[in-house]
């Protein structure tokens, strides 16, 4: 079974040629649904605040304000937006790399070693996927505040290192991709266990590692509840919490502020990197979900 390939079946594709136009048109019509808000966002980001509130939402206004808006986003509130963007990148990269490493090490151990308590432990971890993550946010906040870690980057990064789904995925992946013979051969050559992991297994596990990395990156980039609760200084906010705070100000101001166009353009800038990452790394996220469906 090839796991981390999308496995497009050209045979199935080629089989029926003629009767494909009608279903294709139906699906193309449906594409309006995912694209509509994104198109609106793109259009809205080119408008001045007045045009945003007075011209038709789904088409461009006469003059293009995109550059002015981008400048406004980065200068509003002493340029705090750039800080938010950097924070988000920092939190997401560290959490994703950390979580993917931890999950890869653990998944490899569960897949390739027999040890006492292996199945019980794995069952507990797998069961924890059912534990509602957001129900843990408030107790986590209280614990972090005891350790005087609230309102620091670590308060966001440390809890984001946990990825039971990542561990599950890496176990399945390691079971299917790392041959026992290879490990035994390395042992015969006198390699230590950690060296075998680092120099032999990890190379094979890299696609799975990237998949976990990508999912955790997105999860942290998009996270809102945890940073909203554990952070209180705007300088530490990620872009999600920052945008939401601007949006509340704009809504409270009833649109009199110049803020709406700033919020909209800020939202566009915030999603651009992640959309690009998804388009470029297609084969990894499709692979990850493939593993997720094996039960």
């Amino acid at each position: 079974m090839t796991l981390l390939t999308t496995g497009m079946r050209s045979g199935r594709n080629a089989r029926r040629g003629g009767a494909r136009t009608a279903p294709t048109l139906v699906l193309l019509a449906f594409l309006a649904y995912p694209l509509l808000p994104l198109f609106w966002l793109l259009v809205a980001a080119t408008k001045s605040n007045e045009d945003l509130l007075s011209t038709f939402g789904l088409w461009f206004a006469g003059d293009n304000h995109l550059l002015t808006n981008i400048r406004d986003v980065f200068t509003y509130g002493d340029g705090v937006y750039l800080r938010w963007l950097t924070n988000t990148a920092y939190y997401s990269i560290t959490s994703a790399v950390g979580a993917a490493l931890i999950a890869t090490l653990g998944g490899y151990a569960f897949a390739k070693y027999r040890f006492r308590g292996r199945e019980v432990l794995f069952g507990v971890i797998l069961g924890s996927i059912m534990v509602p993550a957001t129900a843990l946010v408030i107790p986590t906040y209280l614990l972090l505040s005891k350790a005087t870690l609230t309102d620091t980057p670590l308060a966001v990064i440390l809890p984001s290192l946990l990825s039971p789904f990542g561990l599950y995925l890496m176990r399945v992946y390691a079971e299917q991709s790392v041959p026992d013979e290879l490990i035994d051969a390395a042992r015969v050559d006198g390699a230590g266990e950690f060296q075998i992991f680092r120099r032999v297994a990890f190379r094979i596990l890299t696609p799975g590692f990237v998949t976990v990395l990508l999912f955790q990156f997105v999860a942290t980039w998009n996270n809102y509840f945890l940073p909203l609760v554990v952070l209180s200084t705007p300088e530490h906010y990620p872009v999600t919490v920052g945008l939401a705070s601007w949006n509340s100000q704009a809504a409270a101001g009833g649109g009199a502020h110049v803020l709406f166009s700033v919020v909209v353009t800020g939202a566009l800038i915030a999603i651009a990197p992640i959309v690009v990452a998804f388009v470029l790394l297609q084969r990894y996220w499709q692979g990850g979900l493939t593993v997720g469906s094996f039960r």
């Binding site: 494909r20 509509l36 957001t134 408030i138």
Partner: protein, 319 residues
């Protein structure tokens, strides 16, 4: 490529320098010990994070929920009082009921759409499959905060494009942000975010269905629709259960989208609109930490019970 080249370690080099008979007994014993200790060392980082950020918060929430903060006397043990209060708290249960209603409609609609698209994609009856898959999945990459912001603007009664269009056509658009429509409006945001995600899981499951089954049925004269209904859907039932359970969990703990809506329509989405919003508003503006922990805990139990009930029911149905 020999392992010796791949693993140029000191011990390997030392072993190679020796006249070559198998590694010494001591070396082999060391290796064996490494083999028993290694798995524990490998899972140690995961377990550390697991205990610190899942187990301990859970246990701590439970402990907190057994206490109350009194003006006189500080923190006192109150046993199950908080749970008793939660059990009869209308604000909490109205949120749970609202989310149950939400899930009853939103989950079947969303998963139904995902399944239809997945089957169309898998049957190979459409062009541009890669493009379609990518575009439908794209909203998953958009933060819930941004999704709620965008739809919030689109829903707007005065300058939202739907209202503008309706105005041009001299009809009235629904008041998407009114109390009658709000739940459906949020359901639409959630559907928008997750249709593609669930579709991808189902497409993956469908690709594991043996092609021979499909071909045999086609030879027997079964239509594409019959093949989907009689062969494919039953075979991917585990993936359907999985996506349903994830959706139930996600629905009951909905927070981000309604929280953003609170800013846009504060008089409609109150502080106890969803159970999680309620737990948050108890802990933060009101500082009822202990009661909030009890609410979180009961919510966790409700989520757990809900997803297990679903698994139980579908399992019995399938037998």
């Amino acid at each position: 490529m020999s392992m010796g080249q791949l693993v140029p370690t000191t011990s390997a080099r030392a072993a190679a320098a020796r006249p070559r008979p198998a590694p010494s007994r001591a070396a082999r014993r060391r290796q064996l010990r490494g083999r028993t200790v290694a798995p524990y060392l490998f899972i140690a980082p995961f377990l550390l994070v697991f205990v610190a950020f899942l187990f301990v918060p859970l246990a701590y929430a439970f402990r907190l929920s057994l206490y109350a903060d009194r003006l006189v006397g500080g923190e006192v043990f109150v046993g199950l009082d908080n749970f008793r209060r939660a059990a009869s708290d209308p604000a909490f249960w109205s949120g749970v009921r609202r989310m149950a209603l939400f899930g009853l409609f939103q989950i079947p609609i969303m998963l139904g759409l995902s399944l239809i698209f997945a089957i169309l994609l898998d049957a190979g009856v459409v062009h541009l499959r890669r493009l379609f898959r990518l575009v439908v999945f794209l909203p998953y990459a958009v933060p819930a905060v941004v999704a709620a912001l965008m739809w919030g603007f689109l829903y707007g009664g005065t300058f939202g494009p739907f209202a503008q269009l309706a105005d041009k056509l001299h009809v009235t658009a629904p008041q998407f942000l009114s109390s009658n429509w709000m739940l459906a409006s949020i359901a639409n945001i959630v559907t928008w975010e997750y249709v593609g995600y669930n579709m991808i899981i189902m497409v993956a499951a469908l690709q594991a269905v043996p092609r021979e089954l499909h071909e045999a049925a086609a030879i027997d004269g079964a239509s594409e629709w019959q093949i989907a209904r009689r062969i494919k859907i039953p075979l991917i039932a585990p993936a359907l259960v999985l996506t349903s359970v994830f959706s139930i969990i996600g629905t009951l703990q909905l927070f981000n989208e309604p929280q953003i809506m609170t800013a846009i329509a504060p008089e409609v989405v109150g502080s106890s609109y969803t159970p999680n919003l309620y737990a948050y508003s108890l802990a933060f503006p009101f500082r009822q930490i202990n009661y909030s922990a009890a609410i979180s805990f009961v919510l966790g139990a409700v989520v757990f019970a809900g997803s297990y009930l679903f698994i139980f029911l579908t399992r019995r149905r399938r037998r």
